[in-house]
């Protein structure tokens, strides 16, 4: 089976809520003003409340309290707000889902922490548009959710193989013919999110130095390893996945950067988990 077939015709992972596409379309349109975007998001009161909570969290560190969407958009920018809307709608979308083999709170903690770690690595590297890395980290294991939801018995087989040694991602490939990274990328493509994001999710276990998205994939890859190492949540995998030495080298970080980064990720993950979950 191809990775795409895992996300076709499934009831549970059809499309993202319309609000995301409206927001996405508005952000892409150069004519859109901050107040236009504020009005579109404002139609969804739950989303509005969450966005205001996020921009007022210490994660952003604005001194005065931000009370309107328009003010929030002015401060963080349209692209960043779009990425926040995406993160919020995806988590809300999967809220009702509860896989037997997968603890959802733990899954989202792992995902959020990975997003935060990716964002922090991107900040260290002074990459533009760091919220993009938050989204990529947040969604890196989304394929696993699809697999646990729609193919529970195969995933049970894969987990049994995994218990005997090796990596879960390899066990998935053996049992299902596609792994969670490929299925995640297929889902993001089906949701019509950017190719760059899908490719980053696809390559997060094995960043390919020849590919255009190598840096993005390497950032999410390192974030995943760090978050596993800190045991912040879990997504089915019990052990720290191997770190690609090539990816680490390409990112050009100093080992001295890591300890402060880890401490920050732990603090921010706790904060964000309380905001989102």
């Amino acid at each position: 089976m191809s990775a795409e077939s895992f996300v076709e015709g499934t009831v549970q992972v059809g499309t993202l809520p319309a609000i995301f596409f409206k927001v996405n379309q508005a952000v892409e349109d150069p004519e859109t003003s901050f107040s236009d975007l504020g009005r579109i998001i404002g139609a969804d009161s739950g989303l509005t409340a969450r966005l205001l909570k996020i921009v007022n969290s210490p994660y952003y560190g604005f001194e005065a309290s931000i009370e309107t969407l328009e003010h929030a958009i002015t401060l963080v920018g349209m692209q960043e707000v779009r990425d926040m809307v995406l993160a919020t709608t995806v988590i809300r979308y999967f809220r009702g889902v509860d896989g037997e083999a997968l603890n959802m709170a733990s899954f989202w903690l792992h995902s959020i922490a990975c997003g935060i770690a990716a964002r922090n690595i991107a900040v260290l590297r002074q990459e533009p548009g760091v919220e993009r890395y938050y989204v990529a980290g947040l969604l890196h294991d989304i394929g696993r959710l699809v697999l646990f939801m729609n193919h529970p018995s195969e995933m049970k087989d894969a987990l049994e193989r995994y218990e005997q040694g090796g990596l879960l991602v390899d066990a998935e490939l053996e049992v299902l013919g596609a792994d969670h990274a490929q299925v995640g990328a297929a889902l993001l493509a089906k949701w019509k999110l950017s190719d760059r994001l899908a490719a980053t999710v696809r390559d997060h276990h094995a960043p390919n130095s020849g590919a255009e998205n190598f840096t993005d994939a390497a950032i999410v890859h390192l974030a995943d390893v760090l978050v596993h190492g800190m045991e912040l949540g879990a997504s089915g995998e019990r052990f720290v996945p191997p770190l690609s030495a090539e990816a680490w080298k390409a990112l050009g970080l100093d080992t001295g950067d890591l300890a402060p980064l880890l401490a920050r990720v732990e603090l921010q993950a706790d904060e964000m988990a309380q905001t989102f979950l």
């Binding site: 390893v225 190492g229 052990f239 720290v240 996945p241 080992t255």
Partner: protein, 141 residues
């Protein structure tokens, strides 16, 4: 010149690895451990290559402020007495309970424990297990 290895008072760990090997000190000093009068051996520069301080001139309080405000984490220092090798992270030789050590070994079984980044991550976990709430880090950024 001030004679201190800079970090031991703060974190309270002895400079030994779990296997009891003495640490090898060389020219990398963590920003928190920098003191006025230390002399950078190489240019101090930011992540995007902006040079903040030329090598050879002794650091002043003002330099330290600049280094911290630009988020520089390590500086090459000329005097070996001051420094700690960033590739040999600071591992507590006691303190982490045996059960937690075992659990950590299992957790990291698929990784290359010799890799500097993995070693740093592992050391962070060990420091936390040994009761250092923030993993021994004072982050001023």
């Amino acid at each position: 010149m001030l004679k201190t290895n800079g970090f031991s008072e703060r974190s309270g760990f002895r400079a030994k690895t779990p296997v009891g090997k003495e640490f090898y000190f060389m020219g990398r000093v963590r920003t928190d451990d920098l003191r006025p009068g230390m002399v950078p051996r190489t240019e101090v520069s930011t992540h995007n290559g902006r040079v903040l301080i030329q090598p050879g001139q002794p650091l002043t309080e003002k330099h330290l402020q600049i280094i911290k405000s630009w988020g520089v984490t390590m500086v090459d220092i000329d005097d070996e007495d001051f420094s700690v090798d960033s590739d040999l992270p600071f591992l507590p030789d006691a303190g982490a309970p045996e059960a937690e050590r075992k659990a950590l070994e299992a957790l990291f079984q698929h990784t290359d424990r010799e890799h500097p980044a993995i070693r740093e991550l592992y050391a962070y976990r060990l420091r936390k297990s040994a009761g250092c709430a923030d993993g021994g880090v004072v982050d001023e950024r």
